[in-house]
Each structure stands twice: as structure tokens, then as C-alpha cells.
Symmetry: C2
């Protein structure tokens, strides 16, 4: 595929992603009621070559203790390290995506993460050899409210079902497998959601369909997450609840730094460290061999992390 043929498509995606960043940030500020996102614009190379991004961050909000919603539009020459982890050969690449992680202050409001990305691989002449979408959204509660998890999964399923009834079950399963701490007997960091990658755009018809699929997922996010925040944000909590949240946040850190492909890839390909590690929770606790009391609320959450369930 010739370079110029993808430019219009690329541009559509870039515009969608920036528009989504605006919509999500606006809704989160309204929900928070106090915090305002601060924006950091950054460039990848010292000379501006290689692209860059817009990171938007909240710290110490009324609802969101730490929240980041990042867009990056980056490109470059394929390196040896990239070849090891991505299906690319010699040539150049282009990537554009939006990534968000929201860490609420209240332990009864779940953390969430979502990411939707587009990747192109080019040959030496700059023509596209292959391109794909990846993405997903997942939920990390500290206490289990089954109705919240059902709402989150059902909203994602409803957005995906029009593209094929087999997709939600498949991507839900992939999410369960991906967001698990392999060094802890595959305990999940939360209750999952959907995760997909390498959805190849082999022709124009596929490109249009998959772009619609990506947008359906991106558009569903606020509807999947915000009602849960609204419902739980005024719940009163004790120091013990906060402590448990911080212990579970420790597992979040373990997953992101040990297993998450995006984090490791970003750090190894000289991404912007502060934007990549913005995903880490604001305060965290690591307690030796901590186990909640059998049958406690904390234990009930742990059970669904250890044994993923069907929710929608």
C-alpha cells in the first residue's frame, strides 16, 4: 500500500483519538468536581523528530487521586529491540494511541485502565507493509460489587457484539490471561474487561470495519466506567479500607513493571518515562505475605482475581 493512501486514514484516527481525549477529560473533570487536568506536551527526539504526545494528568483531585489520559503520535526506524517484540522488519513504523489510567482516592471506587492504538509497519521505501489495531479496557476494584462488574462488562459487550458475537467472549478471555500476575499463580490485577491486539487491516473494507470497531470501544468507555464512580464515590471508608487498596495497588505495580508489554516496550524504546509510568498508583504498600481473613470482603475480591468469572 502506497504511503499517501494511508495518510488520510491515519489522520482520521489521530483526530478521533484527540477528540476522545477531550471528551474523556471533560467528563472526568465534571465527575471530580475540583480537579483540572494539566497538560504536558512532549517530543520524542531532542530535535522533535520521532513525534511526541500530549499527556494530561490530575493529581490529588476530589475523586481521582491520580489520573492520566495520554495521546501519543510517534514514528521512527525499526530497531533490533522492536523486532524482538513486534511483528516488524527493517524499515520504519508509525504509531498513534490513547492510553488512560484512573486511580480514585476512595477504595470503593475501582481503578480503570484503557488503551486504543494503531500501528503501521513500512518497508524501506516507506510503503505500508501491514497495519493493525489493538486496545481494550479493564477494571480493578478493591471491593467487589457484582452489579458494578456486570455493568462494566455488559457495556463493553454491547459495544462489541454488533461486530460479531464471538468477539466479546474471545477478548474477555484474552484480557483475563493478559492482566494476570504470572509470578503469583496467575492472580489477576482486577476483574478484567476486554483486550485485543494485532487486528490487521488487510484491505479497505477491513480498515473501515475495524476503525468503526475501535471507535465503538473508545466511545463505550465513559458509559462503562462513570456510572460506577457516581454510585461509589461518596461511600465512607476506614483506614483499613485504604490500606487494602494500597496493598492491591502494589499488585498493580508488580503487573505493570514486570509483565505489561506496553510499559516494558515503552521503556526499552526510549519512550517518555514519566508518561509511561504515570500508570503507577499514587500511594502503594508492600506487606510481606499479606493474606486477608477468610470470608472477609477483601478475601471475596481476591477470590474473583484468582478465579475469573463470566460477567456478561
Amino acid at each position: 500500500m502506497k504511503k499517501e493512501e494511508t495518510n488520510a486514514f491515519r489522520q482520521q484516527w489521530i483526530e478521533y483519538v484527540y477528540g476522545l481525549q477531550d471528551r474523556i477529560c471533560k467528563a472526568l473533570e465534571e465527575e471530580d468536581g475540583r480537579a483540572v487536568f494539566k497538560q504536558d506536551n512532549w517530543e520524542r527526539g531532542a530535535d522533535g523528530k520521532g513525534g511526541g504526545g500530549h499527556s494530561r494528568v490530575i493529581e490529588d483531585g476530589a475523586v481521582f487521586e491520580k489520573a492520566g489520559v495520554n495521546v501519543s503520535v510517534v514514528y521512527g526506524h525499526v530497531t533490533e529491540k522492536m523486532k524482538q517484540v513486534l511483528p516488524v522488519n527493517e524499515g520504519t513504523w508509525f504509531a498513534c494511541g490513547i492510553s488512560l489510567v484512573l486511580h480514585p482516592e476512595n477504595p470503593f471506587v475501582p481503578t480503570t485502565h484503557a488503551n486504543w492504538r494503531y500501528f503501521e509497519a513500512h518497508d524501506a521505501a516507506g510503503n505500508v507493509t501491514h497495519r493493525w489495531f489493538g486496545g481494550g479496557a479493564d477494571l480493578t476494584p478493591y471491593y467487589l460489587f457484582e452489579e458494578d462488574v456486570v455493568h462494566f462488562h455488559t457495556t463493553l459487550k454491547n459495544a462489541i457484539d454488533p461486530f460479531g458475537p464471538d468477539l466479546y467472549p474471545k477478548y474477555k478471555q484474552q484480557c483475563d490471561e493478559y492482566f494476570s500476575n504470572k509470578h503469583r499463580d496467575n492472580e489477576m490485577r482486577g476483574v478484567g474487561g476486554v483486550f485485543y491486539d494485532y487486528l490487521y487491516l488487510n484491505n479497505e473494507e477491513e480498515a473501515d470495519r475495524l476503525l468503526a470497531f475501535q471507535k465503538a470501544n473508545g466511545d463505550a468507555f465513559l458509559e462503562a466506567y462513570l456510572p460506577i464512580v457516581k454510585k461509589r464515590k461518596h461511600t465512607s471508608y476506614a483506614a483499613e479500607n485504604k490500606k487494602w487498596q494500597e496493598i492491591r495497588r502494589g499488585r498493580y505495580v508488580e503487573f505493570n513493571l514486570i509483565h505489561d508489554r506496553g510499559t516494558i516496550f515503552g521503556l526499552k524504546t526510549k519512550g517518555r518515562t514519566e508518561s509511561i509510568l504515570m500508570s503507577l498508583p499514587p500511594t502503594v504498600r508492600f506487606v510481606y505475605n499479606y493474606e486477608p481473613e477468610h470470608g472477609s470482603l477483601e478475601d471475596k475480591l481476591l477470590e474473583v482475581c484468582k478465579h475469573p468469572r463470566e460477567w456478561a
Copy 2:
């Protein structure tokens, strides 16, 4: 080398390591004044095959907010993953080491880590093909007291110098290189110490000399660290000092989970997760793009992490 020839040597090392664990724990309990180590004995395989260890842990002590002093004596068949990261071939292996991480409560008392280990590789018949020692100790202060860093490094240097004047400078340099966050422009997690690995025991004379070298290092630890604790543990501090400590602890977590070979190797070879991750600090803070004020005490610490100095 025949199997039985190394058994006596191995035994000497195992006894030294357990003795050192006792000595260090006793001294730390005395220094803490309140805390008592709890011991967890664990086995590597469900059936007890593969060895195990003794983990000793303090949590919420008067001086040590979290402290772990672990001994492990482990063995098994060489796996594919081991071949990727260690100089070993088909056959079996044996390892025994002591590892400690001490996280004081007071931000004016530095964190420290030390580890001394012995490794054997065997051919299919169980005969030793090669064996080596590794180890080191390093210091992670949150505020810079130059005299403390000089004391720590000088004590290690004095212990090492009798074995060759070239060793301390070499192992100090290796420590600076090893304990650096590559994803943060090689910022060190602290002010270093010494780090060495693959000191091969090619013959009996070398084995005796290197065993003496390991013991000299292990024996020097308390002398290098405890006087600093004594001097700083009663320093009064403010919430801002604790916050800075927790931010720097965040860098400690990043190093251990992203870069530390021992941690990654342990988690990938099905080591005991709780004993490996005992190294993680008790409470941690991740603040987006945090930079201390230019010229502040926090900034002075950061300067020596960014630009390692000579201390002894």
C-alpha cells in the same frame, strides 16, 4: 571436579551463611530495640525437592519499618530460562546465598541491601563443571550525609583491599553501573557500594581465597551500616521528609522490578515470590514528573544519584 569433593566446601559456605544470618538479625534486633524477626521456613517444590530457605522478616519495628534477611539453599535441573541468563549448560545446579534488604522508618536513615551467593553448575553425571561467588552491598540514603557514605564505602574498601588493591575500585564501579535505572538516564537508586559476580573458583587455592573474600565482605556489613543507623535514627523529621523518602522508594521499586537480575531470575524460575519481593519498601509514592527544588537537600541527594562520586 567430583561431586563429593565440593560437598565439604559447600557445607562450609552453608554454615557461614546461616551463622551470618544469626549475627545480622541479632544485631538488627538490638538496634531496633522493639522488633523481633519472624521466621518463615519454606520449601521450593511441593514435595520438598529443590531445596528451600529461611526467611526472616521484621515489619513495623521502631527503627526498621520493614526488614528481611533471607537464606536460601536451592538446587534443580537446568531449565531453558536459566540457560538464557546464566552461564550454564544441560545438567543440574546448586545455589546458596544470603540476601537482605533493610527499610528504616526514619527518612534520615538510609536503606541498605546486601547479598552474598555461591553457585555450582553440574554436568549430567552430577560433577561440578564450574562454580562461582557473587555478592555486594549498597546504600540508598534519602538525604546525603557525606560522612555516612564515606564510612560505608571505606569499611567495604578496607575489607576488600587485602585481596588486591584493584578490587574495590572495580567492584565499586560495577555497583554504580548495576544499580542504575536505565529508563531514567542511568540515575542510581542510591550511592552504591560494591557489586561483583562470576568470581570463578577454578582450583582449590582460588576456592579458599574467594571463600575468605566472601567472608570478609559478609563480616564487614554490620560495621559498614550499623554506625550510620545509630547516628541518624533519632533525627526528627517532618511529613515532607517522609514523602520524599516514599518517592525515592518508588525508584527502588522501579529498579528492582524492571532491572534487577536477581528479582527477575527468581520470579521466572519459580522462586518463592514473597521472599523475593520482600525487598520492596513498605510504603511508596509515585508522583508524576516530581522534581525537587533546585539546591534543596532533596536535590543534593539526587545529584549524587545522577553523578556517582568516589567515596573512599
